[in-house]
Assembly symmetry: C2
Homo-oligomer: 386 residues x 2
């Protein structure tokens, strides 16, 4: 394939950003050929801005059947991600899906099955996987430089959002519109990186979500989650959209040392001998293993959204391995679902989670929602966001 013809589904905040990259020819081997936008009031403006070379569709079926795209980039509200992806696969279209891949894992499992049987290229916009710092952390863990993981601690409270943010879109921060708050909208990156870097999913979790604690919203805006892993490690994940200035500090402790990432800077402490070995040989009272604070090269630049889109296009054109395979989207989402479920049940959640129970709770939340918002659909300036 000489050029991958891409159609964007959903021309809101993120769809607009992706369209610009394609129109500016920032993605090699790809071009924007169509967009699908269901909000009829936006169609005229879109056609005018995009020009005659880009087809603007309001009808989903017409778009999918048009033959004018080889691949779709899905940037709609979250609930539609999985069903749209499934439809796209049926129409033999490759899929790059914005995060989160869906709202509940039941739905995403179906999408993954459709992707698998289609043999098409399926990727998810986990753009923070392109960050060399997190790639280095993953490297240190995968090559056993850190040793057996003992503790993971991520304080990610730098997702500050004022009430005006929540008021800017009718679907935002509602059970029916997003199916969650900070976990489903802001944190999918960290929830994915958490499992991607460590290669571990919990065996069980106890989480404490607070709904509308800092803002007039019905979904969670403050979360603390505690996890246990099969190897005995534990983890804590803390997030909030109500704190300023927030913190983004990840610490992973292993039996050969410790990694801290704060302000996008990686620090690695390496034990001269692994801790279990020190413990076995040491005969004194208060001693501890000799520790070396190491400066490691962190090479490369974070290519972000464009990097993921380029990788997706390269996978289609050249068979390049995907950095963020779509099928992996379910892992971070499972963590997110588990955090809400543990809170609703006020109890431990064991993995694999009870997907039906989660779905049942979510439907109850939607049914009992009293949050009515005016459907502003303000397109925000999202420069500098993730």
């Amino acid at each position: 394939m000489n050029q991958v013809r891409i159609g964007i589904i959903g021309m809101g905040n993120m769809g607009t950003i992706h369209a610009k990259s394609l129109l500016n020819e920032e993605i090699e081997g790809a071009k924007l050929t169509a967009v699908l936008e269901v909000r009829k009031e936006r169609l005229e403006d879109l056609q005018e801005n995009l020009g005659d070379d880009i087809k603007v569709f309001a009808d989903e079926d017409a778009f999918l059947k048009s033959g004018s795209v080889d691949a779709v980039l899905i940037a709609t509200p979250h609930y539609d991600h999985a069903s749209l992806a499934i439809k796209a696969f049926k129409h033999r279209l490759h899929v790059l899906c914005e995060k989160p891949v869906g709202v509940y894992t039941k739905q995403v499992r179906e999408m993954n099955e459709a992707a698998k049987s289609s043999n098409l290229t399926f990727s998810v916009m986990y753009n923070q996987r392109t960050n060399p710092v997190y790639q280095k952390v993953r490297d240190l863990i995968q090559t056993n430089e850190l040793g057996e993981i003992r503790r993971i601690n991520w304080l990610i409270t730098s997702w500050y959002r004022a009430q005006s943010y929540y008021d800017s879109g009718g679907w935002r921060a509602t059970w029916a519109g997003e199916g969650g708050g900070v976990l489903i909208n802001q944190c999918p990156h960290q929830l994915d990186l958490w499992q991607w870097m460590t290669g571990m999913m919990p065996t069980r979790m106890r989480a404490f979500c607070y709904f509308g604690k800092h803002r007039n919203i019905e979904v969670e805006d403050d979360v603390t989650a505690f996890t246990e892993y099969e190897n005995g490690a534990t983890g804590v994940f803390i997030t909030s959209t109500g704190e300023a200035p927030g913190t983004n500090r990840l610490e992973i402790s292993g039996d050969r040392g410790k990694i801290v990432v704060e302000d996008n800077k990686l620090t690695f402490w390496r034990l001269r001998v692994p801790e279990p070995e020190f413990n076995k040989d040491y005969k004194g009272g208060f001693g501890s293993p000799e520790t070396w604070k190491c400066e490691l090269p962190v090479e490369g630049v974070e290519t972000g959204h464009k990097g993921i889109t380029q990788n997706f296009v390269d996978a289609i054109r050249k068979g390049t391995p995907l950095l963020a395979p779509g099928e992996e989207g379910i892992l971070g989402l499972t963590l997110s679902n588990a955090m809400q479920l543990s809170t609703w049940e006020d109890d431990w959640v064991t993995f694999p989670i009870d997907e039906d129970l989660y779905y049942h709770h979510l439907q109850e939340k939607i049914k009992n929602s009293t949050m009515v918002k005016h459907n502003h659909h303000i397109v925000l300036n999202v420069e500098g966001t993730h």
Copy 2:
């Protein structure tokens, strides 16, 4: 009183340190006049080392009735702290008690009542309250510079202890000997500072203790605790004796900024306008309050054990207010008891905690203990410990 005559009860690791300070005349207005040591095999050495001016007692009653001391410094294993303090008050002796003030709050409550009715001076060896950094944090909170507290996060995993440490004393890390592990032995300082700096005790807690996870011991050596406060704030406290290199990082977030203490260095971020005010006025999408990273003077030096002892002596001699009143020892201990209790019940613990239930659990642990240790009584070199 010209000079306070002090008797030390328990000449183990800490008792020996305190004796040295007194003998070296490092505490103004106080002198060591007697010691009580129940381990008969140590008496001869003690008398030889201390010289003829210091009376060495093996019998508790004889020591308390001797008339040779005005005040006692209790440095025995924890279980005996409260009962010894109660006896000392009965003999009209002032009491400076090593941390923790006791093992279970029921016992400590009785001690506090005895102290109160005695009108004698009662202090606890919370030497980290003399650290100007923590004093500054307390100051920033008490004067509302930080605003309403929203989150407290303390990662205190720098209490590394090898197996040899636990093997060095028969009472160490057993239910019968210490009544706990990292919470009762290493963490009393942080548990105290946690409530002392913030002025807040939780309304409820959910904690996850692991017993003998890293070492061959029966008590907890790894803990994660989650707390809720009346004002809506939450907290996380994480500790371990099995990690290297450990971390000691405290973060307190308020609605006017954020404090971080790491490596004994305080950093304060101040919001130009309080967060609720920003949130009310802001009309944009992704903005957050203007934040100033401030450099604050932190004055004074950490006087440590000697500082607390000096303050205790000054309180007796001159009525100087106590920096660490003994009655406050119960607060940190309550946090510690609550963490174990929540784990044992595998449920939330609400405050005030069920002291009888805690006591019942503890007795069961003691009864069912299979941990038999050889009673080494090795005196460790504790220079540089806390």
